[in-house]
Amino acid sequence: MKQRPDNNQIRVWAVVFWLLVWQGGSMAHSAAYPHGHLLLASPVAALTRLAELAVTASFWRTVASSACHIFGGFLLSCALGVVLAAAAARWRVLRELLSPLVAVVKAVPVVSFIILALVWLRAETLPLVIAALMVFPPVYLNVLAGIESADRQLLEMARVFRVPFSRRLRGIYLPAVLPHFRSAASLGLGLCWKSGVAAEVIGLPALSIGEALYNAKVYFLTPDLFAWTAVIVAVSVGFEKLFLAAVAAVERRVNA
């Protein structure tokens, strides 16, 4: 069967086009103003800066430190979201208890949480907590929806045949929950990096990408700003691909 082209796929020619627009804009700024290159660094300047940073040990320590905190927050939230969703599916009172909390986390701007958390927490733990907080609602709500989408007729069949919970989990619940969890994880991985780095920029923990971004702003280092932004995108996409590949492997195993 002929597959329909993916309309949302990013094409190389489109990326090249926008890079050329960026380069052109930067060159125009440089020509128009004495320090125009400071206002808008070119992609070449950003790439050059990235190459300079990438050969230093502190760059890798910074990336590793931020990744550990932010991805740690994501994993923590996934674990908490799954456990609480399972409990909420079992006990209605817990579901009703958590409902306003989840609604608040979804509605309140992340920066309010960051500032509030900064009052209570050390700057180092801030990105972990904020990333976990932002990831929790989608994971909890999607896993809960997945559990509730489990086929009632299959669950009845399992009850009649006295199938133990471990087998019901693998045969009925996991196939129902994993597609929901995959969507939540994909959304959550994007959210955790955006919120986590925002927390770092405000909390300024030592050796963090957020601190590097803040310094780039203070010292007007636009090539650094673009270089670190590219790092955030690359690390975020890398983690997303790795994590979703792991989820897909679990799905294949469950469906085997």
Binding site: Q153, L154, M157, F161
Partner: protein
């Protein structure tokens, strides 16, 4: 062990579905229940299986009667193969040789690792029947187990039911009076 159903009543939103149903399913006999659609046959089976409660009346069976069933729907795990489905329901009671023999007799000997989602309706029905017949149980409930089966498969299914259920009470829902003509059958019209 016989199963005695006595004066069973059930209503949904005030509309009666079962009214004073009484019968006995004897061991070694196939009790065929017949009634027009909507007369509560499936509700009766759900009450027997413990999936619903009757409004009044009683079912007298062993205190911990272990049922096996073919449901009105196939209720198979679509992502698994025939073996996967049998292992899921039977657990440690799954016997590879027994399962292979029964599947072959029901015309499913060559399905291999094919997933149930790719089965035809008749194949799913036969697998659901195989699962019910292989599961360790004290009594069997079969809700229209021959739906979608041709004459040849229907005859094979009948033979397997008689052999595998030997000595246990079997309650079978059917629309075809011809199903209740065997010597070991007794027909009950609801």
């Amino acid at each position: 062990m016989s199963i005695r159903v006595e004066n069973l009543c059930k209503a949904y939103d005030g509309a009666p579905v079962l009214e004073g149903v009484t019968f006995t399913a004897e061991p070694g006999r196939i009790t065929c229940l017949m009634a027009p659609s909507g007369f509560g046959k499936t509700t009766l089976l759900r009450i027997l299986l413990g999936l619903e409660k009757a409004d009044s009346g009683a079912v007298t069976a062993l205190a911990d009667c272990r049922w096996s069933a073919v449901f009105q729907e196939d209720r198979l795990l679509p992502q698994l193969s025939a073996e996967g489905n049998l292992r899921f329901a039977l657990g440690t009671a799954y016997d590879e040789r027994d399962a292979a023999v029964l599947l072959a007799r029901l015309g499913l000997g060559d399905v291999g690792e094919k997933r149930v989602r790719d089965y035809s309706g008749g194949m799913k029905r036969r697998l659901a029947l195989a699962r019910a017949l292989l599961a360790p149980c004290d009594a069997l409930v079969l809700d229209e187990p021959f739906t979608g089966l041709d004459e040849e498969n229907r005859a094979a299914a009948w033979q397997c039911i008689r052999e595998k259920a030997g000595g246990k009470p079997v309650i079978l829902v059917t629309h075809d009076p011809a199903d209740a003509t065997g010597e070991d059958c007794c027909l009950i019209r609801l």
